[in-house]
Structures are given as C-alpha cells and as structure tokens.
Subunit: 449 residues, 2 copies
Amino acid sequence: MADTFVVIGGDAAGMSAASKAKRENPDLKVIVLEKGEWVSYAACGMPYYVKGEVGSLNDLVTITAEEFRDERDVDLRTGHEVVDIDPEVETITVDSGGETYEQPYDDLLVATGASAIEPPFDGVGLEGVFTIHDMDEADAIEEYVTDRDLETAAIVGGGYVGIEMAEALSAHGITVHLYEMLPHVLQPFGETVAEVVEAHLREQDVELHLETAVSGFEGAERVDGVRLDDEVVPADIAIVGVGVAPNVELAETAGIDLGPTGAVATDEYGRTNYENVYAAGDCAEARNVVTGEPDHVPLALTANRAGRAIGETVTGSPTPIGDIAGTAIVKAFELGAARTGIVDEEQAREAGFDPVSVTISAQTRAHYYPDGAELTVTLLADRETGALLGGSVVGREGAKRIDTVATALHASMNVTELQNADLAYAPPFSPVWDPILTAAKVLGGKLER
Amino acid sequence: MADTFVVIGGDAAGMSAASKAKRENPDLKVIVLEKGEWVSYAACGMPYYVKGEVGSLNDLVTITAEEFRDERDVDLRTGHEVVDIDPEVETITVDSGGETYEQPYDDLLVATGASAIEPPFDGVGLEGVFTIHDMDEADAIEEYVTDRDLETAAIVGGGYVGIEMAEALSAHGITVHLYEMLPHVLQPFGETVAEVVEAHLREQDVELHLETAVSGFEGAERVDGVRLDDEVVPADIAIVGVGVAPNVELAETAGIDLGPTGAVATDEYGRTNYENVYAAGDCAEARNVVTGEPDHVPLALTANRAGRAIGETVTGSPTPIGDIAGTAIVKAFELGAARTGIVDEEQAREAGFDPVSVTISAQTRAHYYPDGAELTVTLLADRETGALLGGSVVGREGAKRIDTVATALHASMNVTELQNADLAYAPPFSPVWDPILTAAKVLGGKLER
C-alpha cells in the first residue's frame, strides 16, 4: 500500500508541501485538510483588494482547489478541521462539519498558520470592527467600505497590516487615524525607518497617534468611536492589526514541542520532536541565520520554502528548510521600507554581539539623472569580527536593495567584503557607489576606529 | 620633507586616490597631472546629456577642479600631460603645454584611462562623425544634434554606448540605424538578454542591422552616408562606439608590465611590477572573482574603488582593491539589462568549468498587483561543484536585482545557498519567490539531474 502524507492546513506551507511531494512521488497518497474554503491564497494581497487595486478576491488565489484536486491529484478536503493528533498511533481526528473520522498518516505536516491577535477590547464585536485575518474578512471590509460613506477610520497597530490598511482606506477618501502603543510604527524595522515612514504618513494626511493605547470601541450596533485613555475619537470603521500568534493549540495538545518563541519547534528539516511529524509556515519556528537561534517570522516565502523542502524530504530526498534572515519589505503609500537580520542595537547585544551601526542617505540614481530618490540605509555589524548583522532601507524607490544585504547575511559576509561587492552601476539605476556600498564603506570606517 | 604621491590622470581612479590619500595623510604632497581640462566627470552620463535629460555638462562633474584644489588641497594640474615615466629614477616628465619639466615621486599611480577605439574607416574625419570619448565630444554631438535638422543617424556598434546613444538620438526624433558586426548586440550580456533588447529596439523603431560590417562613411565635408558591403545608407550623423582600449603606451614604454588582457597588470593592492608604481581604473586589470584570473572591465565603480584603496595603501594602510565580478547594467529605452560573472557557456568552459544554465521569465511583482513587468533571468553554475558562475537579467523593471547575484558570486555561494536566501517579498515589490530565487530553484533542479 502506498504511503500517506497528511497535511493540516491548505495555505502556503501546506499546499507547497503537498504539491512538491506529489510531484516527486506520484504514488504517494497526499491528503490536505483545510478547515476553511480558501486554499493557497495570498493573504498579503488583501489590503490591495480593499484598496481597490485587485479586481477580485479570486485573483489572490495562486492555485485553485480544483487545480490541486484535478491537475495535481492532491486529496484536498476543504471544510475539514483537524481536532486531534495522536502522534503515538499516527492518526489524526477530523471534523468534516459535524461528522468526525480518524485518518492515519505515515508523515504529517502541521501547517496550521497564525491568527490575528484579538485584544480584549470592549466593543470588538461591534459591526464595523475588523481584524484582517482571512479572505472572508477582507471581503467584508471591502463591502463595508464601498457600501457606506465612511468619513473616519481607526486603525489599531502600526505594523505591516496597519500601514497597508491606512493606505487602502485613504484611497477611499477616508480620514485615517493610526494608533500605535509603542513610540514608533514598524517596530521590527528600527527607528530610522520608522521616522521616515512616520513623516511620510503625516504627509499623506494620516493622523498618527504614537504611544497611544486604545482601550475599546464605542457604538450601539455599529462602531462609531474608539476609546483612548481620556477621550473618544469618532470612527466609522476600525481595523485591529496588533500582530499574529501561531496556531499551536492542536500541536501543543498532542505533545508536540513548542520552541522559545511559542511557535512549534523544528529542526533543520522542519521536523518536530516526532520523527515523522513536521511543522512549517506561520505556526513554526525556523533558524535565524544571524543568531543561529530559533526564530518566528511568519512570512510567505519562509512558509513556501519550508513546505517545498518538506515535500522533498518526505519523498526521500532530505532537504533542509533553509535559514531565515527575517527579511521583510512593506509599502507605505509612496515609500518602500525593508529590513533584514538584526537592525536593533539592543537586540544585537542580547544576541551576544557588540553592535556598531551607521545610517546614511544617498540617491538611488546618479545625482544628475532624473527621478532619483533618497534612500536611507542603516547597517549593523559586530565590532569584534566585523560580521554584518543586518540592515534596513527606506525610500521612494530602491527598497528591494535590501536583498543585497540579506544575501550577504546568508553568506556570513563581513563589512569589508560587502563594501567590495561589485554591484551594478549606470546613471539611470544607481550612483557609482550603490547606497548599500556607501553605507558599508562608512560602517567599515567606523569599525576601524 | 613630506612624501610625494603623483597621480597621472584626473578622473575616477586618479581623483579617488588623490582625495583619499590627502584625507588619510594631510601632510602628503599629492600632485595630479591631467592632460585635459575636465576632472572627475561621469563619462557614463554623456548619452543622457545628448538626450537632453541633463541640463549642463557641468552637472556631470562630481567634484570640480576648484574643489579639489581649494577644499581638498590636491595639487591638481590640468593641461599637464605626462610624456614619460622613469621608474628607476622615480621621476616623470610632464608637458605643460609646450614646456616640459621633471617631477619626482615617492609613489606613483597610473590612471590614464581608456580611449574609444577608432576603426580605420574611410571618412572618420568627416564632420558629423563622432566617437563619444570625452566631454568635449559629447558637447559637440549635442550641438550637432540640436543645431541641425537631422533625419537619420548611423550608430556603429551595439554595446553600451551604441544603445544609449540610440536612445539619446531617437529622443530628438532622429531615425536611428544601429550596425553591429556580431550576431547580437550587448555581447557581454549573453544571447538571452540580447534577444529581449533587440526586440525592444525594433519596437522603438530603431533599424537594427546585425552581422553587418560598416566599412566607411561617405560625404563631402559632412557625413551623409554610411558604407556597407554592398550599399550606402543615408546618415546625417554617425556615432562610432566599437569599444575602448586601455591607455597603456606610457606605462608600457616605461617598462611597466601589461597583463594577458593588454591592460596594466596589477596585484591585489593595485601594484604594478614596480613596488611604488600603482595602476587603477580603465587602464588596469583587476582580478575576476569567479575565475580568479586577471580581467579588464573598464567601469566606474572598479576605478573608484581601486583608486580609493590605493589612496589608503600609499598612506600606510595596505588595502586590497577588491575583486571584480564584471557586473554591468544598461538602460535600453524602457528596458534595463544587467549581467555579472560569466554568462556565456563557452566562456565558462574556457575558464575550466562545466556550465549548466537556465533562463526563466517571471513577474517582478505579485501576479495580481498592478504595473509589474516580466523579468528574464539567466543563471549559470558549474555542474560538479554547484558553484554559481554568473547571471543576467532583463526587463522593464528590476534589473538591479543582478546585485543579489553579484553578491552571491563574491561570497562564492552555490546554487542551493542562493535558492535559500531570504529575499524580500511583499506584493508591490516581488512575487513570493523573487525571480532570482525562481531561477536558482530551476537551476538547482537541473543540477540534481
């Protein structure tokens, strides 16, 4: 009898693993259990659907359920929720909308994702209060925005989602108030990026409330205000985007170990403490290439890559899931902001480094060439070894240049090596010294002192 | 008495070295001999001046002669041509417009640059026939184009200069005929890039004549035609851009060794066969990071970097000039094309590798996000070791992604390592798998077989 590979969760990690496994071994029985109806969708595209730049939610689906079933021969069961894992007996229990059944597996992948954190605010149940945790919610927001004549919005949380939704709602002519408890937005991007983004948000008429805690929402049936410490600010719609938490209950209950970050602990092949149980995607940890420690960065590429690697491993070609650098990029209206590795000195010290950092601003094109923009680059290195630790960039163009820094981190380059990289120059594309090189040059000088 | 550092040539390498040396050791006497009047100018910007996108030739000057003299305290002598080097006596002979004098040195930098090759065509002396070898020539072209009502242009050579000048002249409403002897334009970029660029040039109404040799120019005083094998094609202006050759006569005559490429041979510090004589920039070789062999890639970053390093070395901090990857990028109308390392299989075999290559096309942004473009990526690796050898990209946006490949080459990454790099993803900037990653993934699969 053919082996059975069971996957819990039908999004990036799960479907990548299922597809890859089936492609590598067509005889393998591959079953995917997805509790919802949407599979393999680009959650990152939801703000652009709300903004009106993506015609249909279906456009966000990379591969449809039908394609998985008919073309890839994956036994994809939507509306099937896994309610229990028994790793000793190697069986899961599935609830298919009322009826439950047991499903044995030879290999199991836990790809249960993450969920938007719902803070215990008063009034989160009011109509017009949303998180942006799935496709149906994105649909509901879009409907709420287009059906009504909304004047003001409250966005709670200045992370990716908050900033992308600020752009989306502003595009509908809504006055956006953005509330962030911390002193800065985009906390993982560091202060220099945050300050550039904050100035730009204000330019775009976003009302920015930093170090401001929201305690609840007001309204009869529908939200009409957001409650702060000492006042209530009117709001016709509220979006809560205060982060995500890995969906680990199922795994934890089954005795699958969690790691220090609270996500499922995995080894370099994505294996949990059970030999034939893997975890990948937003519910799982991966190793940070700079610290060598487990990290939890719930982003799409990590999920896709780990899923794909596990699909190879379970079909007989052990394939490491790869380290992560925590690389991320976000559009904030006209700006692009990106980060990789460690960008915060405090965090670098906690990881055992003696950080030295520089921030420079440089043009993205030759100074005399039209339409260039200023790019602000921060780089961090360790004083003793000169090893590059991380960096960030922010500007109206050129944010993808973070990839140079991310690649350097994967290669354990030191600052001198990065400084000597032969990057591409021509006036329409870069100054002679690319801004990344200029930053490395200045950092190199600082390390010598 | 203070030491004397003499620099021959006042452009990228020379002025970088002079400035850096003076900054590191203000007591050093730094003399720069420049035979022309322009110093530290961006030759790469000249086509954009002709096109009309740069207001004044002075905008192309990074730092003026006055700034070098007054602010940086460099003894910059324009209009002074070095006619002889005596490395045994450590003296040069300078012609300052009729009068000659001897100038002793402690350290000497030969930064004599490169010159546009002038093919022995009939009629190259006709009015309206130009190379684009210096600022005065760029000025003359611009004047010729704006003062006259030109209908057709002949551009001889499909390299950077030819393609950039095709764009510049087309912008003036001139019908451009581009003549290339080889089967493809942009030879160092490889065939896949060339084919995309050629299709685009034709879309832009450039008349492309591949495998077509020009034998001369016709006309009474002014050029009015270009002579091919069997016909004469009308041309109101002709630009010859068939490559550059390093200016090595001065060095060669003085007994300074040339390398296998015909440029001045140097060690990792930019030293020639004379301990205290350096060479840098377009006249000198540098080591190719992929082959480990001497290479001659006369581009601005290499010159700047080597000059700067030599400025440090002569002031007591020996600093390697850095390897080159041969990274280059060029704008061809709406396209960007870039290359790094080895992109040609034949060339890879000559360097002792067993090349495997892939070419893929992928979107620069998420498939559902507006305004993305197709990027065609070629990657080469060595079959036995999996080592990355080089690559190219071409598309309407995203050509700077070549920097990821260049960085990977400097880090001696193999294809699997590149494939696992955590590059930045968000819908407005990239698909989940950046096109570079997709190419690495496909190449990785091909290497496994």
